[in-house]
């Protein structure tokens, strides 16, 4: 029996209904490939938590960015662990989100009525790659600087609009303090906001529509 205060809370919040809708839904018999969505969500949670912790010491300014990262690695207890998890979690998240997409594609799970789930998934994949791209600049070391120089050069090859896009991405003609600040802002505000919104819609649709069967030979 649930303790009295849980019953008291539930009468007012209706959490039991949410719980049973989210966790007690019926699912077809599926395999381990169907766990990749949850794994991606878990990794996103890890990235949010470690990212918030990194922001305690990181400074997005060319004067201090590199030194503040060194301070996190060598000066703060367990800073190496928090940054390490954020670093490897980012790589894993890209891999997991990508394999999750491949599974959806090969099982044809994107078809009616799940087209919108697929579309929000596309947004999530692109936003995840965007997080990787913007986060890569933040340590402000040689690799970060030149990778971003090349990365922002790429849209410059688009005929017509290209050079303009490069300038907007960099916030000027070349990489500068402005570039670092806007990549930081994208990394911790804009893209996470997009991802949270897209995850909300994505999960609402997964819960509302249920997950698809593994297609058999007749499908």
């Amino acid at each position: 029996m649930a303790p009295k205060f849980v019953t008291w809370l539930d009468e007012r919040l209706g959490l039991q209904g949410i719980y049973s809708t989210v966790f007690d839904r019926k699912v077809p018999k599926v395999n381990w490939w169907f766990t990749l969505g949850s794994a991606s969500l878990f990794l996103f949670g890890i990235q949010v938590a470690t990212g918030i912790f990194l922001s305690v010491y990181y400074v997005p300014s060319p004067d201090h960015a590199y030194d503040s990262v060194q301070f996190i690695m060598n000066g703060v207890s367990f800073g190496w662990l928090i940054r390490g998890i954020h670093h490897w979690g980012a790589t894993l998240m890209v891999i997991f989100v990508f394999i999750h997409m491949l599974r959806t594609f090969y099982y044809a799970a994107y078809k009616f009525p799940r087209e919108l789930t697929w579309l929000t998934g596309v947004v999530l994949l692109l936003a995840t790659l965007g997080m990787g791209f913007t986060g890569y600049l933040l340590p402000w070391n040689q690799k970060a600087y030149w990778a971003t120089t090349v990365g922002t050069e790429i849209p410059g090859t688009i005929p017509g609009l290209g050079p303009f896009i490069t300038t907007v991405l960099r916030g000027g003609g070349e990489l500068s303090a402005v570039t670092l600040a806007r990549f930081y802002s994208l990394h911790i505000w804009f893209l996470p906001a997009v991802i949270l919104l897209a995850i909300g819609i994505h999960m609402y649709l997964v819960i509302r529509l249920g997950i698809s069967n593994i297609p058999d030979k007749d499908d």
Partner: protein, 161 residues
């Protein structure tokens, strides 16, 4: 569901998940707290004896300014702090070392030979050659440094701030 003395599958899973969760919270929680708290716990030793050079460099009876800087590192940022010491060499090995920081609002005082006083430029405070307040708003005499002389070399003691 039949009642039995054996642990049910559901209870087993609940307990295992709870236990693993507790271990995870512990393993993550300790580093997380340490991460946030550690810079506050690291006490930086700033107090030290500072050499002011050979005692002979200082004329007897005339306060002479000696300046030095110390660098303080706070995380990713370095700050240079400059100090000024007025060294008054008396007879023999007697030395009076005074901070040149006015005890009113921390402006730098300077020695005026003609008037035989230290004068603070901010509020025209006057201090005697021994650091006592002669006139003006300062609440206390100029702060003295502890001194020592080793092999004819003068040292002042920089206290922990």
């Amino acid at each position: 569901m039949t009642e039995s003395a054996e642990v049910s599958r559901r209870d087993f899973v609940t307990v295992v998940v709870g236990a693993v969760g507790a271990v995870m919270v512990f393993c993550i929680g300790i580093p997380a707290v340490a991460y946030l708290v550690s810079p506050a716990l690291k006490v930086k030793k700033t107090e030290d004896w500072v050499s002011c050079g050979p005692l002979e460099n200082y004329p007897i009876g005339i306060p002479t300014l000696f300046t030095f800087t110390r660098t303080q590192v706070n995380g990713w940022e370095k700050t240079a702090i400059s100090y000024g010491v007025y060294v008054l060499r008396k007879e023999g090995d007697q030395v009076l070392a005074l901070s040149n920081m006015c005890t009113h609002l921390s402006c730098r005082v300077s020695w005026k030979d003609a008037e035989v006083v230290y004068v603070c430029p901010c509020h025209d405070a006057h201090f005697s050659i021994d650091g006592e307040v002669v006139s003006g708003p300062p609440p206390r005499p100029l702060d003295p440094y502890e001194t020592k002389i080793e092999n004819g070399e003068l040292f002042v003691f920089l206290k922990q701030e």
